[in-house]
Subunit: 320 residues, 2 copies
């Protein structure tokens, strides 16, 4: 599972950072999910190898424009490029209504079906290799986090034990490997005695805007990676006297440390933070504040940076 950031800016785009969008790419390198779709997400996609034909589903965290205004254009372009495959969009209810109004008033006809499912249902949505569920967060409007949990893991079949137990290579091996118990020589062979998974299921939590990381304590328990906003440093938030429903670097880092989170991936930075560390304030202010409170592997997302979550649960920057 790769995480490719299409936008890492809060509220407004900057010359270097677009507003929010994140592609989660399957092992194959083609099938992918999109979480949030700020304006010009489709423009960022032109600089990747991802195709709108391979997009499996879109998840929207909340109705604010910097997380959804790219949706009509992206879907229109998918249509113009000939997509026919239905597309699932999991989003707060307002998004479906807004999209319907957009279709009506701008005479947008799509050659594929769009199935809107309300995030508020808090279902578990199943895809080929991943299950996704959601959690309500705290922001100025209803905002959600999405948890992607791997369901199709590679099993390890203990062939030494099978051989030692006198079960020779054959269809039974395949059956056990698939998790199905088998009957052999008058005995029931339990799949779980011969199969195990060398690594826990991969699990990534991607959150919308949120000023109460504490809400994620249980939800993040199985996660190897948390992608969370870090709009300001605490100093800036204190000076403004209002967080506008956002988290500071200190707040989210303190939470991550308290749950011993394996990897913290910060994004959604206020436009005031310069990419150039020689200018002030810079994105390095966010990094140093977060690093002060969180001792685990810390990543600050950049537009078009791609991170890989290995089967081992390790997260690393992919350098091409």
């Amino acid at each position: 599972m790769d995480l490719l950031f299409l936008g890492t800016s809060a509220g407004v785009p900057t010359k270097k950072r677009n507003v929010t969008g994140l592609a989660l790419i399957e092992e194959t390198g083609s099938d992918w999910f999109l979480v949030d779709c700020g304006e010009a997400t489709q423009h960022r996609l032109l600089r990747t190898r991802l195709s709108l034909h391979d997009l499996q589903a879109i998840f929207i965290t909340h109705v604010h424009g910097d997380h959804c205004y790219g949706l009509p254009g992206l879907l229109a372009s998918a249509g113009m490029s000939g997509r026919k495959k239905p597309l699932t969009i999991i989003a707060p209810a307002g998004i479906a209504e807004w999209f319907k109004a957009t279709q009506q008033f701008t005479q947008l006809y799509l050659p594929f079906e769009v199935d809107f499912l309300p995030t508020e249902a808090l279902d578990t949505w199943s895809f080929a290799h991943w299950a996704v569920d959601a959690i309500p967060l705290s922001h100025r409007v209803p905002s959600f986090g999405y948890r992607f949990t791997e369901t199709a893991r590679e099993p390890y079949l203990n062939t030494e034990k099978l051989t030692a137990d006198g079960i020779s290579r054959g269809p039974i091996w395949g059956q056990l490997r698939k998790g199905i118990d088998a009957f052999h020589d008058g005995q029931t062979l339990k799949s779980s005695d011969y199969v195990h998974y060398p690594h826990p299921a991969r699990c990534v939590v991607v959150c919308g805007d949120n000023d109460q990381p504490e809400l994620l304590r249980t939800f993040c328990q199985p996660a190897q990676v948390l992608v969370h906003e870090s709009t300001y440093t605490q100093e800036v938030a204190d000076k403004a006297g209002d967080t506008f429903g956002h988290s500071s670097a200190a707040l989210i880092a303190t939470f991550a440390q308290s749950i011993a989170l394996p990897n913290l991936l910060l994004t959604h930075f206020s436009a005031r933070y310069q990419a150039n560390p020689e200018q002030s304030p810079s994105i390095e202010d966010i990094r140093s504040e977060a690093a002060h409170y969180y001792q685990g592997p810390l990543f600050l997302a950049e537009d078009l940076a791609r991170y890989r979550l290995a089967k081992t649960g390790d997260l690393s920057l992919v350098t091409s």
Copy 2:
């Protein structure tokens, strides 16, 4: 008056070209008008010196997304950057309804007033130095062209004639210069006898999508510049067997030649046309087809290219 293109692609963005947007910039270099606002128009603006605080009005030609999906994000960013000044948007009625729905469903609050005026009224809208009127075109949805006519021209006062007529320098000169008749030595002095305008009023026509240039024959009569779509070459249009309501290079160029248009500025090119003339089909195919039918000064717009309409009526590319 400068014309700065923010997008020159039809339908979908490409790596080099954004969807439609055009800034018309006043002599001062700061006050400006926007015609059409495709997705990521605000991103293009980050690469110019134009400020959303100096934007005088927005004109939308028609409701298709590649001409308007950038509107909510651009207005949201204007609000976040502290704009308080009301903004006039002249647009087909569907745009106002769509924007209202967008505000409602995405909880967008602006700290300034937006006054929507329907293009369908075909009024003349007056601004400090320009009057703007509109004309209905022919497309799959109602589409319009806007004509910008200079109203605040620099008058030339014939001081030689004034001196010869025994009227010496004084307040009367200023009065006549302003176009007001004056009383002097028992005689009425007509301003028009002493004042003239060395050049005709500048006039630019900017059109939305349109497959019948002929509709513009009278409207374009005073124009020095026509900005018009040229989505395909005729060969491509013929192959497709459907123009989808668009003009070919041959069609618009033939029309421009027939009215002896002073300057033809083409834009809104299908994504298939490559910027690199060594690839095929390239934008040069459009250029050579248009040049075959139109012998006047021909310009093919590029993203972020800036053209200047001089007081003389000459159009030229501004090289910085």
